[in-house]
Symmetry: C2
Subunit: 323 residues, 2 copies
């Protein structure tokens, strides 16, 4: 998957972060191999980009920022490997997953190893606030992951419940990426607060868009077969909205029950068509746009017009992206 | 399993730690339930005991020590839940494991949650040295866990390889338990160094004894069926020694191959009898005693005769225990 550097942003510094990511994962041979496989599959490196940009609001120091940027990307990666175990996913970002190329047990320990490596790097920074913010976010993330398991095929869940889940699953880590970049370089506390707000709202929009792409994207665009969420029972926002519509509700529930009974080992195109026939897609897009507007609003209290411009561009990209 | 307070050691303070352990694991409902299940299964609470005793070599402060003792026990618990996934274990400490009562995926996320909670508590301490020591140990532990998977049914492994593995798997966490108790209360750095040495050697002996108990203990004593290690292909020290003996080697290799082919779903009493007929048990006991002597040696540079006496008693207990 393509790294997010379409604005030519901080290219040189992001190359440094990339090298440090590769350097960070040396362990035993098998762990090297599985972690390298993950790193090579790529990713947008959104969290490191946000860390570096957060760092522009204080005394920018790449060495310090690396010790936040690399751990945050590693924590994100580790959560993906563990997710793949739960989701029983064979591909991600167009590559075989660790659990599919090796097995679930190796994927579990690869995740544990990458989490620990992340901590080893971030603890090189003396600032206890950073460690506190990060560990709190990790607790929330793990609660969110468990909620996701529990909510599989829960067709009765509310929009609120979905929002709480993606807050924990995605938005918090993006929020603290923006925030910790600023905290690491001792930026004005009000700046780091606004950056948190920006990141949180971008993160919410990002996950809604991700869930939309799983329904509307192509396999080439999203690096895995579309409809994966439905297959594994992950009830996303467009589905919740679709279930609120009289004519759609019954046939969609019927399809979801069938998919559940077959453990997702079946065609899901009828379900997708039903969702697309509802206003679910449009309403989810609308909500994502509202989050983006809140994110833009958070930027208003920040100085540094160049980085702000870039953060605005990223916010707009989030809801327009197709990967 | 019985808590390790047979010396009436620090009883009141350990009761406080126990309450804090229970308080620490509040999350969502399911995570509460799985974590509570783990806590209730008990354990010797060896790591917290060591933390408190380490704290006796500086300005003893229970509040500070709790923020090391609880995380270390949680990290140990989290590693056990993940281990149970790998080992496919149905019982531990006489109780159903999380992976058996719920499933592997829930066990994986329960472990992730408990790891994160541990970090949340320890990061309340401002001392970066503590975080650095802890995260390094977590990296080593996760490497050790992966090595264990890789070495399953590896009958060609050396004693050295076994020692490296149990160092990472067990001894390091016990070593830093002793050390961090002292570091948390700003003890003389030489004291924390000696406590690390003590803990490391006790930890090595502890794991060797654990591996011996799996061969020689009863189900009632060890809380799981004996021979579990052999069943899952965990080649322990007495086995490595037994394989070095001419008359034992061939029949034992034959048995181990059979057990491997049957994925451990078979009787292992012949293998156990062969190991017991060799000098493997005695030689492993001998090595454990050597580690204990090294542990006692480390104590010689420490003051505070009362706590030293207790640490000596624990060291002796380790190789004599039957649970």
């Amino acid at each position: 998957m393509k790294r997010m550097d379409m604005f030519g942003l901080l290219k040189k510094d992001m190359d440094f972060i990339e090298r440090e990511l590769y350097r960070s994962i040396s362990g035993d041979d098998l762990l090297n191999e599985t972690s390298l496989h993950l790193l090579k599959a790529g990713g947008k490196r959104l969290r490191p980009v946000f860390v570096l940009m957060g760092g522009k609001f204080g005394e920018y120091d790449l060495e310090k920022l690396m010790r936040v940027a690399v751990p945050l990307e590693l924590i994100h990666m580790a959560s993906l490997v563990h997710d793949d175990v739960i989701d029983d996913a064979d591909t991600r970002r167009g590559q075989l997953t660790v659990k599919s190329k090796w097995d679930n047990k190796i994927a579990m320990y690869t995740g544990d190893f990458i989490y620990a490596k992340a901590l080893e790097i971030v603890t090189q920074l003396p600032n206890p606030e950073i460690h506190q913010i990060l560990s709190k976010a990790m607790v929330e993330m793990s609660i969110g992951e468990m909620e996701q398991i529990r909510d599989f095929f829960n067709t009765g869940q509310s929009v609120r419940r979905y929002m709480l889940r993606i807050r924990r699953k995605t938005a918090l880590l993006i929020a603290i990426s923006c925030q910790l970049g600023a905290v690491a370089v001792d930026a004005n506390p009000n700046f780091s607060r606004q950056l948190y707000r920006y990141g949180y709202n971008v993160g919410m929009a990002f996950q809604i868009q991700d869930d939309l792409l799983d329904l509307c994207g192509t396999e080439k665009q999203i690096g895995k077969p579309p409809g994966s969420d439905i297959r594994q029972g992950n009830i996303t926002l467009p589905v919740i909205f679709a279930l609120q519509e009289k004519e759609i509700r019954e046939p969609l529930l019927h399809e979801l029950t069938r998919i559940h009974e077959l453990n997702g080992q079946c065609d899901v195109s009828t379900a997708i068509s039903l969702i697309k026939a509802s206003s679910g897609i449009r309403r989810a897009e609308h909500l994502a746009t509202r989050y983006i507007n809140k994110a833009l609003d958070a930027l208003s209290e920040l100085p540094d017009y160049k980085t702000k411009r870039n953060l605005k561009d990223i916010a707009h990209f989030v809801t327009r992206r197709s990967y």
